[in-house]
Symmetry: C2
Subunit: 203 residues, 2 copies
DNA sequence: GAAAAAATTAACCATTTGGTTAAAATTTAT
DNA sequence: ATAAATTTTAACCAAATGGTTAATTTTTTC
């Protein structure tokens, strides 16, 4: 195994990501991570010092994916309905690309709210919400939409986009969908959810 | 500790529930359950045989809460909009009453989809969805609502009701809400979410 | 090519964990 | 009141776990 051909550190990280997402911090085993990475367990410690350190690193990366580009769209000059369409599209695409992500992030937020709070502080949420609320108020005054708070609207958008990924096994089970059907349904939601939301707020 | 005054089995069960909801199966420790129940660890094994057995029992009970009364409302003769209002109200009330429930159930569904599939098979979902779709079709033909599938509508309702509980720490962090403000916001959603949905499908 | 640095290995370690056991204590049944 | 049944206890157990160590191997540097 030559360093030029393979980067052991990266292999461990990818493997750890997969297992942490699947099993969570408590359920993941260092030996399993080593086995699946095809290395000796001591190497995990050599490169990452401890289970917690490795987990923190993985979580940092995954958490970054969660909010990727969202701020940019929310603060853009796009017309409101178009903005909603773009947020929905981006959210659903990202969750499709990283299917275990919402469960992973939500769990860790439950387990460890203080760490998350610290991370969230780095996001200029007030600015975003203020700008978004202004846009909403403008559209409301023009008579284009009904009254709604930026907070509630964003919660609704995220709810409609993310929950079906969290509830994937339940939805598949209840509605008797195989993977293909489930994914087709998710694909359809890209336009349907946006339309649902726009219709809900439209005057 | 007299049997007449306290039921050790129940105390263990309540404690286990709390800890399993908080830590999950892998993260919960039998010694912690015993400590918090104020008993000797061997007692947990005496009454419940193993960690897995105890967990299964707790999960069974919690899973029951998740779907409680939902089938009854969906299959009732209520007019569609009223039905939506009742589902939303019931969902939000139940999640307020059992705040850790959605995380707990969603996690276990991820971890153990086969077990969940088995449980879901006991719910007469096809009947429910068929009936609900009929009602929707009737309203659509009358020109009262837009076209939507029962599946997507139910997913949207559940998304809007449940996700804010799953994402509680994130919402609180991003929107800088304390517990009181968060709960006030949730209370408001009982009517707002129903109105949002009704508006989204109304013609 | 030799030395230094880095990566890898296999064995080992202390602690934790879920579970077991047998004795003691308590409750119930007669 | 005694015997039987049940509950509880404290000690113990084997395996699993995250982590450590020192030797060996490989790669990099000069």
């Amino acid at each position: 195994m030559k360093r030029k051909d393979k980067n052991t550190e990266q292999v461990i990280l990818q493997t750890a990501r997969k297992i942490f997402i699947q099993k969570g911090l408590a359920g993941a085993r260092m030996q399993d991570i080593a086995d699946q990475a095809g290395i000796n367990k001591a190497l995990v410690h050599y490169y990452f010092t401890s289970k917690n350190k490795l987990f923190d690193l993985v979580f940092e990366q995954e958490f970054g994916h969660f909010f990727a580009n969202l701020a940019t769209i929310i603060s853009s000059d796009l017309p409101l309905f178009e903005k909603i369409e773009n947020i929905v599209s981006l959210d659903i695409e990202r969750m499709t690309q990283f299917p275990g992500l919402p469960n992973f992030v939500m769990n860790e937020m439950s387990r460890n709210p203080d760490v998350i709070l610290k991370k969230l502080k780095k996001i200029p949420v007030n600015e975003l919400l203020t700008g978004f609320q202004k846009q909403i108020n403008t559209e409301f005054r023009k008579g284009n939409i009904r009254k709604i708070s930026a907070n509630q609207l964003l919660i609704n958008i995220q709810s409609l986009c993310i929950f079906p990924f969290i509830a994937r096994p339940m939805i598949k089970g209840l509605m008797q969908l195989d993977d293909k059907s489930y994914l087709a349904m998710i694909e359809k939601r890209k336009t349907e959810v946006a339309a649902f939301i726009i219709q809900a707020i439209k005057n």
